[in-house]
Symmetry: D2
Amino acid sequence: MRRLRMGMIGGGPGAFIGPVHRFAAELDREIELVAGVFSSDAGRSAAAGEAYRIDPARAYPSLDAMFAAESARDDGIDFVSIVTPNHNHLPSARAALAAGYPVITDKPLTATLAEAHELAALVEAAAKPFGVTYTYSGYPLVREARARIAGGEIGTIRKVVVEYPQGWLAGEAVGKQAEWRVDPAKAGLGGCIGDIGVHAFQLAEFVTGLRVTELLADLGAVVPGRLLDDDCSILLRFDNGARGVLLASQIEVGELNGLRIRAYGDKGGVTWKQEELNTLTINRLDGTCTLVRSGTGVLGNDAASRTRTPGGHPEGYLEAFANLYRDFAAQLRGESAPLLPGIAEGVRGMTFIDTAVSASRANAGWVKL
Amino acid sequence: MRRLRMGMIGGGPGAFIGPVHRFAAELDREIELVAGVFSSDAGRSAAAGEAYRIDPARAYPSLDAMFAAESARDDGIDFVSIVTPNHNHLPSARAALAAGYPVITDKPLTATLAEAHELAALVEAAAKPFGVTYTYSGYPLVREARARIAGGEIGTIRKVVVEYPQGWLAGEAVGKQAEWRVDPAKAGLGGCIGDIGVHAFQLAEFVTGLRVTELLADLGAVVPGRLLDDDCSILLRFDNGARGVLLASQIEVGELNGLRIRAYGDKGGVTWKQEELNTLTINRLDGTCTLVRSGTGVLGNDAASRTRTPGGHPEGYLEAFANLYRDFAAQLRGESAPLLPGIAEGVRGMTFIDTAVSASRANAGWVKL
Amino acid sequence: MRRLRMGMIGGGPGAFIGPVHRFAAELDREIELVAGVFSSDAGRSAAAGEAYRIDPARAYPSLDAMFAAESARDDGIDFVSIVTPNHNHLPSARAALAAGYPVITDKPLTATLAEAHELAALVEAAAKPFGVTYTYSGYPLVREARARIAGGEIGTIRKVVVEYPQGWLAGEAVGKQAEWRVDPAKAGLGGCIGDIGVHAFQLAEFVTGLRVTELLADLGAVVPGRLLDDDCSILLRFDNGARGVLLASQIEVGELNGLRIRAYGDKGGVTWKQEELNTLTINRLDGTCTLVRSGTGVLGNDAASRTRTPGGHPEGYLEAFANLYRDFAAQLRGESAPLLPGIAEGVRGMTFIDTAVSASRANAGWVKL
Amino acid sequence: MRRLRMGMIGGGPGAFIGPVHRFAAELDREIELVAGVFSSDAGRSAAAGEAYRIDPARAYPSLDAMFAAESARDDGIDFVSIVTPNHNHLPSARAALAAGYPVITDKPLTATLAEAHELAALVEAAAKPFGVTYTYSGYPLVREARARIAGGEIGTIRKVVVEYPQGWLAGEAVGKQAEWRVDPAKAGLGGCIGDIGVHAFQLAEFVTGLRVTELLADLGAVVPGRLLDDDCSILLRFDNGARGVLLASQIEVGELNGLRIRAYGDKGGVTWKQEELNTLTINRLDGTCTLVRSGTGVLGNDAASRTRTPGGHPEGYLEAFANLYRDFAAQLRGESAPLLPGIAEGVRGMTFIDTAVSASRANAGWVKL
């Protein structure tokens, strides 16, 4: 079976998430990066193409150029991956969909909720696979947690705590990665909440199978001069009545990428931490504490089918990210891959961001989601 | 120098915290348990006295009996330790103070804020040492964290997260320890917030040297039929403008006694976890991560002077608790021991409980503290 | 029931293990320190007595003085605790036994194997309780491990690895604690092997229920000028054919008191680490990994009966040490407490030290034990 | 710059390490798998080729076929990667070298020491890049440890402990991966020692910069019926006089892939564990304990240049393995990449295996290496 051919939008020199998408897409050899508009600057796009070692002719200076050229090739791209800053998600996706390509895009879906709704309509009309790379839903033990909760292992959920501490924006925002994230013109409505809070939100709904129905948001811009939030504390209610807390911050010095989730039911509890990704902890009311370790025979199918190494050979962030592309490749082949977040999850994330930002600004207390 | 003589109120058969106070008081051999009213039931008081191996004549059936007899002895008690359920704190302390004895009491100070104010007036009038056993301020590395923050090691604090997860009340409240804690007549105004939330609150102010000025409380009674809160999520503001979060729960299955605190400034961050009490983590903006380990030469005086074993010989909960009694003994001898919480901290804790419970019931949003 | 009265030999100013024995003996209030010969120097003995807050008249300048005076009192000592450097264990025990007192002594039993045999004969003749404080057999989860292995949980043992890394003697041996341990006149035949290697050896036999039948020893004096071993690597064979490794070192910089043991059978494996004493890890062939946590309902009776706090309230080194004194107190009362090491384990430890030191010096390869 | 083209020998259906080499080679997009003899069975080779999604014409049934066809193509392979069981390393490498191709091979170099010497002569004659994938020398923090030790951070090394516990062969050896490893005809001289002991040995020399000069080996075949060693305990001496211990086992139930190394000098100590690969612990004599975390600014160049993600985004086994291919690609381009193990390290590993197996069988005590 041939490899699917990917065209990338974004991911030029200095990018972080572009190379990650490339690693992830190609890891399982189901996909190959062959073309891209890596930058709106032709020279920078060409430089990136060279760094990615693709055919120089396929590092394009514009979306139009790419779609025109690729659609004319027998071996043209099969789909588009969008890895730009947020404000370019919608225009990129709009163009790709118009040119007839399936799309997978980084999160958050767009810069604003209005854009998200516009995109949703376009996706619905296009009727092509559309994926959103909420990274953490690709982790095998996150899927294990999800499957075990769905199977009733912890009973009815009563409480969910999801935390996402980082510290890298505690000082001045220096460098390409930091700069666009603190610029409302590029990041959109949310700072920390759009960059990582939305990951925590999606993870909470993904793992528990519940939906947040209300929230109370307290967002702050802590570092002097910052225009967007860099610290978020949000209280939650879920559709089954469960209580929840979502904390995300980018000013917690020394925290690297400490996403973690704990869910507690009336029979047990589960805990998972991104920085110790290969272990899941399961507790029961009777005091039993079990560690579910990646690569061992105790994993269910959702996790086992997305694990590449035996126990004790740690998988990491890139392998987890690759699981999203493996799912997307399956969808492109016409197979079912229901765990890949799609347009609905993308819109939902934007609704969360929009609601939380608005509610926090208005000091509105509890609001519906 | 002779040992100070302690009379205990509470701590009868089935008690948890009474034996803990006994261990803690005697560990350093500065104090000796010699008498007590261990129960309001004479037979049970006598049985407890025998279990504690004290002189049977000094296991009294009532406060009056104890104070009358002990004040008549040459070797009578020097002070009183109160370890009853909350609703007996005030009457016990009132009687002890009236009899002229210094008092150390378990937390929370009283069952209600009004009682706390009444007790504060009595303490002021008595002008004797008065201690409140907020356990976690006795931990050496908590004191190390406090000293380092006071010394500027993490700069100006911007964010504080204090969490206190437990799971032991996730099922039905069975047994002496559980039963009184879920009974408003004995526990007072607060359930989880009075049992452990107040520890978290006191720890946050103790470690950071800041004071909470505002809070937003979301307390819930999750287990069916429960009358008092068993799950608390509280947002905080501190007097320097720092943001904060306080989470406490007793329904998080599998969590044992997971108190932990993280404080972040503009130069660094500190993290401490009660269940890994002998290590403190210090992070700096430049990526440096240092572990401060108990019993090593890197400790400051506050911590080193309250540590009894060399590095790697773990100290635990009882040793930490004993540090509060060592402080109290110092105060009884007329020495300074400023880190022992006193009546002011006791009243402050009750104010916190009262404010949070009221605000949560009223869904009042942000309120002053 | 009255408290048993302890007379201590050793434990004078600057001592480490003397105060530990005092903490441990008194923790459960079954025993009280009332007298001692804390130093062979009368002034120092008196100073120590004052620090321990005992009756000044009962801080004696000599063994003869103590035994004469105490035997004449109605409230005289019930037993003797020996906490001196190794070379004084035998003379102290000999005198105590001659005076008719039960004895509990720190490890190793004596300075030499010949002394150990002499003492064993005296103990046999005396027919009184005799305990040896191999500390680590007092840890609740060590007893849990022992009980589970005895119950067949990991099947037939095939492999045992016991490690005891420390680093505190990596530099010059400075201070009272270090100085006597590196002085053959006081420490006896072994340095590191007598100080900590013997703990590891006893732990391995205690936990597994097996006996070492052969060993191959490689002992080194690494720090320049050191006269006794400070680094030990020993290969083992057990009586069921199982293979083993025992590593102990005092020159591993940064290691505090890292004793740990792992035992593997044909059905499972167990792991315990002293510095994380409140957790035991159990693995099974099918990949299941369970954490047994102190204070939870999953503990067996051996462990549960020697635990004082609920889960998550860490117990430490002193509480574990206290379990040995609780056992000894039981023996003094005529009860059974079979897990307390006695004279046989004491002699066995000395045989181990003597055999290993001799075999290493002779580069003898495998030798019988 | 074009991608280098790899031809693989081995890695057919059911293989573990073949896919790992493919992941690793392609991760940085400097190399592409284009051809292979994945099995000596033509049908199986074709099936593997399809699974790898390469051109079906380039999945060859024999080495001869591959070398003939590839050398005739303009876009033929640039080098060969050998991922067969051990007994096929030499014949595969011999053929590849004869056909003029650079070679990178899995470890151990060959099945026997004699074969290793034969291969070394061929490599010398060929004068092409030749790499050996001792996986663990590719881990960024292993390289950080090496650089810090070389820079004097822990002083003169006195003690090295390297351990490699696994448990997956504790039961019967079932499945393709297990079966060849316990078969002398395929694995060669060593079982556990050749599979993982040699990794531990190479890691010890790589990290410390020292060379083992003597060893004492105790190898056992523990599982009934096993023909090769499955449990190894080896004592070491290094060329600077330092003492060492190497433990490797495949019968330690519950251990997954627990490789770890600790090195202690007269100024400090370092510890690294494969299963927690993104952190390195540095201790100093004064009690300071520092965690060096991957992706932070405290890394030196050797580690930083081989890290692909920011701190807290864990890298794993595959990314580390990929660093060896990145080094090999650099060598193929004529650049220096001195940290990639080559033929000398390959022969050295075989010498270690041969010496240890022989010495253990003869119960020879200390022998020279």
